[in-house]
Symmetry: C2
Subunit: 349 residues, 2 copies
Amino acid sequence: MTKKYHVAVVGATGAVGTKMVELLETTTFPIESVKVLASKRSAGKIIPFKGEDLIIEELTADSFEGVDVALFSAGGSISATFAPEAVKRGAVVIDNTSHYRMDPTVPLVVPEVNPTSLSEHNGIIANPNCSTIQMMVALEPIRQAVGLDKIIVSTYQAVSGSGAKGIAELENQIREYVNGTPLNELTAEVLPCGSDEKHFPIAFNALPQIDVFGEDGYTLEEWKMMNETKKIMNDETLKVSATCVRIPVINGHSESIYIETKEETSLAQIRLLLADAPGVTLVDDPSQQLYPQAIDAIDQGTTFVGRIRPDVDNPTKGFHLWVVSDNLLKGAALNTVQIAEKMVELNLL
Amino acid sequence: MTKKYHVAVVGATGAVGTKMVELLETTTFPIESVKVLASKRSAGKIIPFKGEDLIIEELTADSFEGVDVALFSAGGSISATFAPEAVKRGAVVIDNTSHYRMDPTVPLVVPEVNPTSLSEHNGIIANPNCSTIQMMVALEPIRQAVGLDKIIVSTYQAVSGSGAKGIAELENQIREYVNGTPLNELTAEVLPCGSDEKHFPIAFNALPQIDVFGEDGYTLEEWKMMNETKKIMNDETLKVSATCVRIPVINGHSESIYIETKEETSLAQIRLLLADAPGVTLVDDPSQQLYPQAIDAIDQGTTFVGRIRPDVDNPTKGFHLWVVSDNLLKGAALNTVQIAEKMVELNLL
């Protein structure tokens, strides 16, 4: 008989945690029980699960007694405090926050890209940043075939990446605008970054700030994309430069990616590689106006790639791609659940 | 006494034409009279101008009798038919459509960048594409100082670039959404491109198509940016690669621009160059969350530049910039009027 596992979801009421619980309803991962954990404020609330009611419990260290696998998505400080407590009690933690991602003892995993890294875990596995994951799924087949020398990416990120509060803020601003509020007087209290000092409207705007700025002029979101890419692809020499931008989209990150390959390749070869790639859906027929769109990606568990075309000035090694995915699914909750599934497949649980 | 000129505005009821008439109220260009021309449908309508009423006349070849300067913004086919008629009657045409831009006998001018090209005109001067103009204003000071080898640009373009119909479509979709219409059922009849077959919602979406596709997988908008840049900077060896994307912003184009310079430079030097550059407003202090934003650019006649930072992997020759401008003003109407002003300054009229 297949072993079944006791699972905990930490941050079960958030934008990503809600998706995690939904995905556990249909996952191939063998579940014995699901425990939903959140702050004291949410304790007692009900989450439906396979026709039953899960009651949210307040997160404490002892919540992890008897838990086999704990999926964390409640912010970096919660993971810092409670992931070690979960590990101490015998659980394997799959952490969706940025806290452990660059820790050299913690594997950072996209199952389609570096599943073998999972075997090196010491109790904690990190789920990469949303904008990194979809880029990795799209580029890994190309890297494997012809190598990657350089990546220049500009993102078009949805507000759901900043959590339920970000979605509410955009929707509220839209309502204010329809009711006559001028663009520069829309209420902004969350974006571009809840923990930063100033807040700006996202409705009808493009905000070139996601997360706080480092002293070098890059935002932490940009550093996440640059550093995580090198770790996941296990190549410190890979050149990666990112510009991360929030736009008024509810859900679904889009990315304009420019790559330079190590060996010569072609549009035809890249299309062939991506047509067969795990987790990729090729949507690339300009003659039929077929290209990935954020609104088509919502609730889809795949990464859409299109607008593939050679750089006119570097046609055998320079290529553009337009990559779109549901940032709450493949960018977060789904990748986390897929890590758990892959660990069972690899007999690592 | 200064000579004064008889001016005609062709397409005076459009998104850009309306701005042209507004700008003529305050321009330093010496005006004797303004004639407003449009299709038969709009004839008889009133446009206020300096406290008086201008009555729209139907555009015919004879409309240009006695006109010294004709500003065109009524679509490429109107320019193709009527610009030669205006020239035949002695007018100088400044054309905001794409029709004459790549004609080798027609100067393509951004006054801050290549004003001397104006002297080579044969009756017609072309105004570049909106997304090209703001990029040129931001990059020319850098090119002059240290040369430019390569430009990779991803745009975040406002719906006003597609005209008044594009603005109305976004606003209508926003209202539909607030009233409960699902995202994928929003009414789309104009964007991404009025003349193409399929139409997709722009609200809460990012559309990687502006204008129609060429057979090479690039859109015409992308080709405009690539070809016009080389012509304006007068450098056929300059490498330019563009990805043009429409986002749900009413007005104000943003651009994520990556450049490689020919000579080594630094963040400090680029900031100094741009702080002094004509037509540029530097907004670049990440420590204070100061960077250009589309909603701040509306109704501003300048090009905002910020988020300047070196490419970590190429820190002396690779740089990112975030460039924002009101696409109806500097991107269209204002640049057209500035061309007329510059021609007076250079004694070319």
